[in-house]
Symmetry: C2
Subunit: 202 residues, 2 copies
DNA sequence: ATGTAGTTTAACCATTTGGTCAAATTTAGG
DNA sequence: CCTAAATTTGACCAAATGGTTAAACTACAT
């Protein structure tokens, strides 16, 4: 029966992820993380010296998962048009009912932008991906309208993620429940790529 | 020299607004608000019984300002095409360097959706505005593509607000500074209405 | 079995935090 | 001026919070 350090560390990380994601750095409590992991609070400090360090471990895990999902699509063999649909599907499926994940990232980075600077290596892969090459080639060949990659990527991410962040607000404003909201998101899987492509293809 | 209750209350509200907007409910400290207002901490509890009540006062002020800006544009005399441009300009100008305002709203509503339910009256005006009438008429007359108002409004708000929320992240990913970021936002004032209209007009 | 290193726990600690209260100060009316 | 009410303050409190420490427990090699 191996129920030792590796196991405990994993339990802590999973518990901490759950709590930090929902409550954020300032809202999370070490005691709550310990309870969630079913261990003594001191153990948290035994494995991770401080709240800050535990948080950093979690943040980097979440952050490191968020963009690679994009990057792997950015670098696959499909044509750019399909890549866009894949990104939209991916984000809506993955975060449609987990808006707290992108919200967590936006929040913590907004409060403390340095969090990212140490991880900037991961970004380069995105800026220099197949997606970007294909885009630039398409622009030069006259297939695509001239558009800055930053604007295009912002448009895609905005249309996918914002309605997920604003889910409770949208539900209130338009007086709808979960069922209708999910239909709304499903509609967007078609709507967003159409919109992006209609503005990209000459 | 009238330097009495009215004055103090205003000082408190302004200080609380500054602190709550940036730190959020859980991150804000009553002592910090008191210092910011230049008064004793006990006074906060004299004017507003608890942190919760002070927060509620601030939240409602922020929230009540956020949508009416939209609503007044929604109900003016300009044609729908121009209304859209006005909304985009309004939000980018107002929140371009104050992303913490929409972020504050999204956050606090996400954590506590009931915050909005008491204010739902304000929303009706938006759903039943001139904008929506014009949209529906345009759709019926065949001028506009058939699109749900919720999708359209989500698209507009997404494209305006998300890049403002994600400002620090975008700056990191694309390795740009304030100057270039502001140019990016200015570009969007043209880009967004073009994009919305190209997808709306048949 | 036994000693040792690694792991886990309970008991504490110092600081922070939202909140209370009685005393002090200011304001305004008679 | 005097007084009563409203306003403001400093001292204080209990609970919560991140963190420490020494003791207890476990695994395991000898």
């Amino acid at each position: 029966m191996v129920n030792t350090s590796v196991d405990t560390e994993k339990k802590i990380l999973e518990a901490a992820k759950r709590v930090f994601l929902v409550k954020g750095l300032s809202g999370a409590r070490m005691q709550e993380i310990a309870d969630e992991a079913g261990i003594n609070k001191s153990l948290l400090h035994y494995y991770f010296r401080s709240k800050q360090q535990l948080f950093k471990a979690i943040f980097e895990e979440i952050f490191s998962h968020f963009f690679p999902a994009l990057i792997s699509i950015f670098n696959n063999n499909e044509p750019l048009e399909l890549k866009i649909s894949m990104i939209v599907d991916q984000y809506i499926d993955e975060f449609g009912n987990k808006g707290y994940v992108p919200l967590f990232l936006i929040n913590e980075i907004y409060q403390n932008p340095e969090l990212v600077s140490s991880l900037s290596g991961k970004m380069d892969k995105m800026v220099h991906s197949e997606f970007m090459k294909e885009l630039q080639e398409g622009i030069q060949s006259g297939k695509y309208v001239e558009v800055s990659p930053m604007q295009l990527l912002s448009n895609i991410l905005s249309l996918c993620i914002f309605p997920i962040l604003a889910q409770p607000m949208l539900k209130s404003v338009f007086q709808i429940g979960n069922e209708e909201y999910n239909k709304f998101l499903e509609e967007r899987k078609k709507l967003i790529p159409e919109m992006i492509l209609k503005n990209l293809i000459k």
